[in-house]
Amino acid sequence: MSVSVEVRNLSISFGAGAHAVKVLPGVTFSVERGECFGLVGESGSGKSTVLRCLSLLTDFWSGEVLIDGRSVRDMPLIERCRTLQMVFQDPYGSLHPRQSVRTVLNEPLVIHKLGDREERMRRAITDVGLPISFLDRFPHQLSGGQRQRVAIARALILEPSLLLLDEPTSALDVSVQAEILNLLQRLRYERGFTYIMVTHDLAVVDHMCDRFAVMLRGEVTEILPHEAIARNGASHPYARELIGASLDYEGIR
């Protein structure tokens, strides 16, 4: 099952009156069925905010978000959860401190009345490279990267068609990152998952994404195919600077 995403003029302000700050003035992009779309850009430019708006975690935005042509606001909650899931930037904040990993993974299965729960949980935890015994641990007993993998397992367990991934692998060592990225690729080919992925690592974008948007202060400066990274084919000055800096950082130039 594959879905497309259409974001039109997404705009949001935080705060009221004279203190209001427009964080996104009007973001527009579209993602095809089964595409992996990257969001990169300046820290604080609004990447996580875009994902939070798409998933309606923040809902006081204006503009349109269409999933397979249908407004995300018109989807009943249960259907929305089955369609899209999000992996958060800071896994500590997104895992309940007093819930064991088992509870975290079991809850969505109960809510959505899915069977074979034990089997599904075991597969999800194994898929992200953790031993099954970790089902009985609590978040504070896990390392940063282990928490992140639990968050990924929680998002995958409902087999959503659209995954919103906020820095999914920046807390992982590159060997575990490789396993997670390979898993995401495989799911994409096997089940047609669509991804929107925020990352600061342009090598990950080049490896995973078809196209990517470069954000600066709430605006999409440019949307580029992944091939544009290696030859720095950007035309917007900020996008050029960011790609150039990444090439230097990798020691490529």
């Binding site: 604080g44 390392s143 060592d173 960011l242």
Partner: protein, 278 residues
């Protein structure tokens, strides 16, 4: 690295209620240099950092030596430790937003670090805090000063932690993934600030990171940890000549710009890696 700031010998850490050790005999010394620690997720990197600051309630810490300057960290009372922690030895924690108090304004927390360690007026502390937020390249520092932790971005949170550390002006900094949420441009600017602390002020810096490009270009030496042990120590510039199969596997698993987009190489973790010594 003429002077040794930190001397760690045979450090072992066991979490309360756990049957195995999370850290199994780690030894290293640190001079006025940038020491990188890379390693497997869950290998004990953050645990080592927290043990140095004795931030591990309920865990059992033993070592043949755990010395910071002239201070024996193991025999220090909690009261004496309070004078060392934060002021002389500072850690930038891996989960910035979790480490901040969620119901207090970010800027007040930064200003408080300064007030805690130096005698000055609230107003002065406020000014220092804003200036430091600007120094770590936070746009619109006055606005961010007034925000709560849940209102700032991931990379802003990391920079707030760095600003707090900078204000305390310590001699030893343990930075746990301090720049992973920063775009490359800002990351390089922040690394330059950390670099100048080592070069100009002569502090010791431990940099825990998964970013191989970062440790290769920014650190002097690198420890590689696997399952609670240091399996290899390398000069950073010689990272690519690593001998241990775990380190070699890491290098091979890294995606690269202009790569083939074929599945990435994954590690075949060998049981014997658990046993060997560096």
């Amino acid at each position: 690295m003429e002077k040794t700031i930190l001397d760690v010998q045979n450090l072992r850490i066991r979490y309360g209620g756990s049957t195995t050790e999370a850290v199994r005999g780690v030894s290293f010394t640190l001079g006025r240099e940038r020491l990188g620690i890379v390693g497997e997720s869950g290998s004990g990197k953050s645990t080592v950092g927290r043990a140095l600051l004795r931030l591990l309630p309920g865990a059992t810490i033993t070592a043949d030596m755990l010395r910071f300057d002239e201070v024996d960290l193991l025999s220090l009372s909690e009261k004496e430790m309070l004078k060392v922690r934060g002021r002389r030895m500072s850690m930038i924690l891996q989960d910035p937003k979790f480490s901040l108090n969620p119901i207090r304004r970010v800027g007040d927390q930064v200003a408080e670090t300064y007030l805690r360690h130096f005698k000055c007026s609230r107003r002065e502390a406020h000014e220092k805090a804003v200036a430091m937020l600007e120094a770590v390249k936070i746009r619109d520092a006055e606005r961010v000063f007034k925000q709560y932790p849940h209102e700032i971005s991931g990379g802003m949170g990391q920079r707030v932690m760095i600003a707090m550390m900078l204000l305390a002006d310590p001699d030893l900094v343990i930075a746990d993934e301090p720049t992973s949420a920063l775009d490359v441009t800002v990351r390089l600017q922040v690394l330059t600030i950390l670099d100048s602390l080592v070069r100009d002020r002569g502090i010791g810096l431990i940099m825990i990171s998964h970013d191989l490009n970062l440790v290769r270009n920014f650190c002097d030496r690198v420890l590689i940890m696997y399952a609670g042990k240091v399996v290899e120590t390398l000069k950073a510039v010689e990272l690519d000549q690593a001998r241990h199969p775990y380190t070699q596997g890491l290098l091979a698993a890294q995606p690269r710009i202009g790569g083939t987009r074929q599945p990435l190489a994954v590690l075949d973790r060998r049981p014997e890696w658990l046993e060997e010594n560096a």
